[in-house]
């Protein structure tokens, strides 16, 4: 047990958690809260923890305020806004000693029901709203704004910043502006007048946000698809990938309208299931369009057969896998990195697929664009391995950027002129020695370049063949093509410790934000660590070199079975004894505290140090 301390006091460094009921309209209020702090120049990291359900079940929204700019989950809650009676007890129990609890005191709770080591902040939300509004829906909705108002006062936030944001939000619905501002005032004033100085957590204006934007990975990836020239999106709804497709449609409907006809320079189709979605993507890619789908684990499983087809017939395809908790239906609204093995080896027979691992929404945008170049350059499916944490949470990231001189890499596609020039065309001939053949798009030329695409074994001219040697030659070329991929996929991001480090750490994807913080803390505690963030499969040679250069390498993953580690030992011929897997897979985003604790313990950091480091 930790000693009971006084009320927590901190400026720009604490965690607020809102416990709500889903369907009650709290989401936008909570987001308003987070964005208001951003407007004050203070970095925040927000995480939405919601049930697989539409209405009436517990949902939480966690806001980490971090003047230092740590964007991973820290772990623990300093200030709980406990508005859900179903989870009230649990929510209270999860507050750090010395923390705060805000609750709706319309029906006051007897003091002995509260933990003695926390500060309780009662606000009669229902009473305030019932007084102010007659309409039951309004009574419900404005409650959320009232508590945001109260928080604004309690944390010493800039009331004008909040109002400004509300004004922006209701720009198109001006009627709603005034009542919202009013509700905000109710809360603000109540707290200012009745709860003055009760809270020692404060937000203070900083200049740490800069040009950064606050955006969800699914949205950023969707923008990447638009900027990268994707014209066909075929998909099937599934949490947590749905908003990727829906955002693509939204952005494309804005940026891709033919100026004359007002018709769409893209095709957006909700398929009947995931098998159809990937079938459409493969058909469209074969026909020369940039096409993609977005899905999650169950969809990846269902698409397996067609992934093998695309691998073997060498058809480009871009697939976003926004990973959630598996196996099976698992935890549809929780995060995990547990589809790596499936995606890497998807489909029967000998197959290997290219995977990209973006660390945040910014990289989702970049890798979305890169995925189309890679898929067309390599003529193969490319998987962008996101997760719910990146995909469905707003993250504070560098602004998205695009170089107008950049040209799409459409890969080796023969034009009518090139065909006319009369080079003999064989669909699967390795002309350039990089194992990537040339392809043609249907309808290009009246008499040159037609071929018959098939998933059955074929020769260099795409003709059916059951000849063993022909088949083997094709399969070996595909292996060589995977070697070519190594040099084209994003290189791992390495960071060396200031001192010489015994240990290396390999990690990827959404783990990065928590890792950055964990490493800073561990380094301070005397444990230097070299870092390598893997950004793609196949692994670049740098990965092997990094592993070779360290006595032991921690591999930090958000799955049970150390899937990246398995890929590394299998594909890079590395002795598994080198690896120390650190696995977090309960469906919540990995925290800096967890990483610190695990690494400290296994690196033999003195117990006390480790304990302390983990705080």
């Amino acid at each position: 047990m930790r000693a009971i301390t006084g009320p927590l006091a901190a400026t720009n460094d604490f965690v607020v958690k809102f416990a709500n009921i889903n369907g009650s309209g709290s989401a936008s209020a909570n987001e308003l809260f987070a964005r208001s702090i951003l407007r004050m120049g203070v970095p925040v990291a927000s995480r939405n923890i919601f049930p697989s359900n539409i209405q009436g079940l517990p949902t939480w929204y966690e806001v980490r305020v971090s003047g230092e700019g740590w964007l991973g989950r820290r772990g623990g809650v300093d200030f709980m806004v406990a508005l859900n009676p179903q989870t009230f007890d649990k929510d209270m129990a999860s507050i750090e000693p010395g923390g705060y609890l805000l609750y709706d005191s319309t029906k006051p709770i007897p003091p002995e029901k509260f933990r003695p080591d926390i500060t309780v902040l009662p606000i009669p939300l229902t009473e305030i709203c019932n007084k102010a509004y007659a309409d039951p829906r309004q009574r419900q909705l404005f409650k959320n704004i009232v508590y945001v108002g109260a928080m604004t006062s309690l944390l010493g936030m800039d009331l004008e910043a909040v109002k400004w944001l509300i004004a922006e939000q209701f720009e198109s619905k001006p009627k709603l502006l005034a009542p919202n501002i009013q509700a905000l005032g109710f809360g603000y004033e109540y707290a200012r007048d009745r709860l003055k100085d009760r809270c020692k957590l404060k937000v203070k204006r900083q200049d740490k946000v800069g040009e950064r934007i606050f955006i969800q990975g699914n949205n950023a990836a969707a923008l990447g698809c638009v900027w990268a020239g994707a014209t066909v999106c075929a998909w099937y709804p599934i949490t947590p990938s749905t908003s990727l497709a829906e955002n693509y449609n939204r952005h494309a409907s804005r940026f891709r309208i033919d100026p004359v006809s007002k018709k769409k320079n893209f095709a957006f189709l909700q398929a009947e299931d995931e098998i159809a979605a990937i079938g459409m993507v493969v058909g469209a890619s074969w026909n020369g369009a940039r096409a993609f789908t977005a899905t999650s684990g169950p969809g990846i499983s269902l698409m397996s057969e067609i992934f093998g087809f695309a691998y073997y017939a060498e058809v480009p395809a871009v697939v976003f896998d926004v990973q959630r908790g598996g196996p099976s239906t698992g935890m549809p609204t929780r995060t995990q990195q547990s589809d790596l093995l499936l995606a890497a080896y998807a489909s029967h027979g000998d197959t290997k697929h290219v995977l990209l691992f973006p660390e945040d929404p910014h990289e989702c945008f970049d890798f979305a664009a890169a995925a189309f170049d890679l898929a067309e350059r390599l003529q193969t499916p490319v998987f962008v391995m996101m997760d719910l944490d990146i995909g469905m949470n707003d993250w504070l990231v560098e602004p998205l950027s695009w170089d107008d001189t950049r040209r799409y890499d459409r890969g080796k596609v023969l034009s009518a002129e090139e065909l006319e020039a009369g080079k003999t065309f064989g669909r699967y001939i390795d002309v350039d020695g990089d194992a990537v053949p040339y392809r043609t798009i249907p309808g290009t030329h009246p008499s040159q370049g037609a071929y018959f695409t098939r998933g059955s074994s074929h020769d260099a001219y795409a003709r059916y063949s059951e000849e063993g040697a022909t088949y083997v030659a094709g399969m070996q070329r595909l292996l060589r093509k995977f070697e070519t991929a190594k040099s084209l996929v994003p290189k791992p991001a390495a960071r060396e410790a200031k001192e010489k480090a015994r240990f290396g750490v390999i990690y990827y994807g959404s783990t990065a934000v928590a890792m950055n913080e964990a490493v800073a803390v561990l380094e301070q505690k005397g444990l230097p660590l070299d870092l390598m963030r893997v950004r793609a499969f196949p692994f670049n040679d740098d990965v092997e070199a990094f592993i070779a250069a360290h006595e032991q390498v921690f591999v930090v993953e958000q799955n049970r079975d150390a899937q990246l580690m398995k890929l590394m030992v299998g594909e890079c011929a590395i002795d598994p004894a080198k690896f120390l897997p650190i696995l977090h897979f309960d469906g919540t985003p990995i925290t800096a505290r967890f990483i610190i604790k695990e690494i400290a313990a296994r690196a033999g950091l003195a117990e006390a140090e480790a304990q302390e480091a983990a705080q």
Binding site: L38, E211, R212, I213, F214, V226, W227, A228, G229, T231, V232, A234, H251, F255, R256, D258, K264, N265, F266, A267, L269, E272, D273, I275, A276, A277, G279, M280, V282, G283, A284, S285, W286, N287, G288, A289, A291, E305, I306, F309, L400, S401, W402, D403, D404, R407, Y408, T440, I441, P442, G443, T444, H445, P446, A450, T453, R454, Y464, S465, E467
Partner: protein, 351 residues
């Protein structure tokens, strides 16, 4: 096995069509199907239809699933790109291809196992979306390539070669298509080229989802007594509702058109379907009546063939999607990429 290239002997008597192509230019590789297989006759009918329509072969995309039937796109239109996909998924692959380039002719070939068993979902959804395509199901009531098991179109009561009796209800793709909103619905018989060729021609010129259910006997596994998909059975039970003639767009309508018994249907592109009414009470423009007619006559053991239904002005997938006229696969950075400035605007919206 090595591939046997087909000798390209140009027969001097072969007439060139309007584009100067002879029938040979519409052929493909030598078939590897069983001698006498109905599917080969359908390939020949496709060749004939494309020849007569003077289609540029390379403007056709041939798509298929898996099965003996699905192999056939290799055996016609050698100058067209082909796509032999996986079992039952041709419709989605075709839909994707059609999204990418609205200007090609999409010819989907499938089998009854491919379309009615594993592929029923994709079959249905492609039709209800109005994908602009010609979908030919080469229907033999069995899985030819896996050696003769019943498919989902096998009729209840039909006997297999080994004497097993089929018990489940048959899936009637044509009735389904009528329910699902297909806008050109026909049934024919691989042994009746006269009926089949103009039906294919009409389907190619149709805008929207055209489906042809072509009974195509499997001589190896389903051509015995007791089968309801044998040559003999089909010949005996075939009841054509009309005889179709295809009249190209700019051709004049000649005088052999007798009102009352003959009907002209103008298609979207200006071509006509000239229907000789073999069943005077049959109206192929009435979907509901067509469905009822099919049900009644099929219940009596008749195999209704001909142009069952046509809606010449139906909307297609691209109308539904609102796609621009320029094929998506021809757009470049210029049309596609909003550029750095626009991205700056977007960034601003997330601050």
């Amino acid at each position: 096995m090595t591939y046997i290239a087909k000798p390209k002997l140009h027969h001097p008597s072969l007439q060139p069509n309007a584009l100067g192509f002879t029938r040979r230019d519409y052929e493909g590789r030598i078939s590897t199907l069983c001698a006498g297989c109905g599917h080969d006759s359908i390939s020949a009918a496709i060749v004939q239809a494309c020849y007569e329509l003077s289609i540029e072969p390379h403007r056709v995309a041939k798509m298929s699933g898996i099965g003996c039937s699905s192999k056939t796109p290799d055996y016609f239109l050698g100058q067209a790109h082909g796509f032999n996909s996986v079992h039952g998924r041709m419709p989605s692959v075709l839909t994707g291809a059609a999204m990418a380039n609205r200007d090609l002719i999409y010819l989907g070939v499938s089998g009854d196992g491919d379309s009615a068993s594993i592929g029923l979902g994709q079959f249905a959804h492609a039709l209800r979306r109005g994908v602009n395509m010609v979908y030919i199901c080469e229907n033999n009531g069995v899985y030819g390539l896996t050696k003769g098991q019943f498919s989902a179109t096998a009729d209840a009561g039909a006997k297999s070669k080994s004497g097993e009796v089929h018990v489940d209800s048959a899936i009637d793709l044509i009735s389904m298509a009528l329910l699902l909103g297909a806008s050109y619905v026909a049934r024919s018989f691989s042994g009746d080229k006269k009926q089949l060729v103009p039906l294919i021609m009409g389907a190619i010129r149709h805008k929207g989802a055209a489906i042809l259910d072509v009974i195509s006997p499997c001589v190896t596994f389903n051509n015995h007594a007791g089968s309801t998909k044998s040559f003999d059975y089909v010949r005996e039970h075939d009841e054509a509702v009309n005889a179709v003639d295809f009249v190209p767009a700019r051709k004049e309508i000649t005088a052999d058109y007798e009102p009352g018994t003959t009907e002209l249907v103008r298609q979207h592109d200006g071509s006509y379907l000239k229907l000789a009414k073999l069943r005077p009470d049959y109206d192929p423009s009435n979907r509901i009546a067509a469905l009822a007619y099919l049900q009644e006559h099929q219940a009596q053991g008749e195999l209704v063939t001909g142009l069952i239904y046509v809606a010449p002005e139906a909307a297609d997938l691209h109308d539904h999607l609102g796609t621009a006229d320029t094929p998506l696969n021809t757009l470049t950075e210029k049309e596609l990429c909003p550029g750095a400035k626009a991205l700056e605007v977007v960034n601003g919206e997330y601050r």
